[in-house]
Symmetry: C2
Subunit: 304 residues, 2 copies
């Protein structure tokens, strides 16, 4: 089991969906990542920042989920707050407001005890900060990064550096098209791979994902979920599932990347069934295995 | 090999895509259906209408593709003409104009020699005409229907009757949501199944399809196509692949429906690689089998 460093947001989210509402509930990319990694009991070294309004019970939650929070800074001011809603199409989040608060001047501080972590997940934050994290680590074995349209628009050069230093980069379909200017997803992925990473994972929401290497290609549909309650954090749960699955495997190779992505896909399918962190909080590896049996039937590869 | 009746449009299409353009090229749902069925050499009884401008070489093409065109009426006037274009997002067709011409007063005439056909495919035409066709057939064994948003909006009652008399109904995701008022695709499919059909196929474009029964569920991603040239007719090629595959099988059961849909999925993936009917025209069953081997690798079901 290899230790994982995650750098990302720790947030208080205000969420409205057709099914549920939550006010100032625990969220953020690093939190959803930890919540997912905990299914396999993988310890995560967390780097982030919170304000004075961050409740001690939230810290206890993270510790219970095997997060080391010595890298979680507490600063004067308020915790990062995102307010948004979803309508019937749960693929589309509408942001009402984003209050950066203490996150505005966030400078990741990497405690010495984190610096040898072999796995690093750089959640979707400013690529300048992502680079800063990499500069402070002692040659990690496996770096996976996430990003978003904002950084593609505003900090492309820095993002290019992050990607060139990552083993795997996550995009959604719109992002990889925007980043490369290429409409065809496979061609776009190959162009990204030329710049450094061995693999690209294109997240396709309810349609699953595509994992592309130089000569490899693997695709799996999303698990059908009968009641999507709140999709917030699905991508970060996917990341947590992916990294934690690999952290308990011997080898980092294509076959294990495929398995890890299928596992992550199922973990994300649980995440969307509850508000915020609620659903995954109660999920065990056994639950994922039971769903995997259903999923296998669901995607059974018939011979013609 | 069971004979298939298809009722649908025979058209001259004017198409622009970022890759190609075609003016007044052979198209229409019944034509794409025949073009796909021909891969397995399955004879199709075609019902449709064309105008005086319909070239004899087009009729010869249909005959070469094993279509019986004694049900293809020639009327004074012009053939149905659709003009449209695609931009970079090939999932979205933009219609420039639709000239119904002889199709405007189309009344399907079913020749006596067609009336015992065991398989019927009702392509996307006015549900009043679809019902008319069913009334003129001698209890077909297997009826599959397609439809579109226009008929859901304007002729819902007639469409409900068509669906209640179909064994399988095709929708895309937006259509089944519109038809049922239910956002969740699986729940929507179950609601449709309560009204008569045994199965619903939800076409998801490049993401493949979902096949849903009362208690059955099967999903497969679309084959990754590196160069989408023209998606026109993909849905009707899917239908032709699906019906022809089943027409050569002994049993109509869930397992064969799954296999037929996977086959259809691959046939449709060829269709989009060329303008109009061009690409599928040159595809053999061997080509499909070769692509199936790639596809199997691509969706390989890894154990966790």
């Amino acid at each position: 089991m290899k230790k994982i460093l995650v750098v990302g947001s720790v947030a208080l989210d205000t969420i409205r969906t057709p099914q549920v509402k939550g006010d100032y509930i625990l969220g953020g990319s690093a939190v959803h990542f930890v919540n997912a990694s905990a299914i396999l009991g993988v310890p995560v070294d967390l780097v982030g920042v919170v304000g004075e309004d961050f409740k001690s019970e939230y810290k206890e939650f993270l510790i219970k989920k095997k997060a080391n929070i010595s890298g979680l800074l507490s600063k004067p001011g308020k915790t990062f707050h995102w307010e948004g809603y979803y309508e019937n199409d749960m693929n589309q989040a509408y942001t009402v407001k984003t209050e950066l608060n203490v996150f505005e001047n966030f400078q990741p501080h990497i405690p010495d005890s984190y610096k040898n972590d072999p796995f690093v997940f750089l959640a979707n934050i400013d690529p300048v900060l992502q680079l800063n994290v990499l500069d402070n680590m002692n040659s990690p074995e496996f770096v996976v990064s996430d990003t978003m349209n904002l950084w593609i628009e505003t900090k492309k050069k820095d993002l290019e550096k992050v990607i060139s230093r990552s083993n795997i980069i996550f995009f959604n379909e719109a992002e990889i098209r925007q980043y490369t200017g290429i409409m065809n997803i496979v061609k776009a992925a190959r162009k990204v791979i030329e710049t450094g990473p061995s693999f690209v994972i294109v997240k396709r929401g309810e349609y699953g994902f595509l994992l592309a290497g130089k000569d490899e290609l693997f695709c799996a549909p999303g698990m059908i979920v009968e009641q999507v309650v709140d999709p917030t954090g699905a991508g970060d749960s996917f990341a947590g599932g992916f990294m934690s699955y690999l952290s308990v495997k011997e080898r980092l190779n294509f076959k294990n990347f495929c398995k890890a992505a299928v596992y992550a896909n199922l973990v994300a399918s649980f995440n969307v069934e509850g508000l915020g962190i609620e659903r995954l909080n109660n999920i065990t590896f056994k639950d994922v295995k039971i769903r995997f049996q259903k999923y296998k039937k669901f995607i059974k590869g018939y011979d013609l």
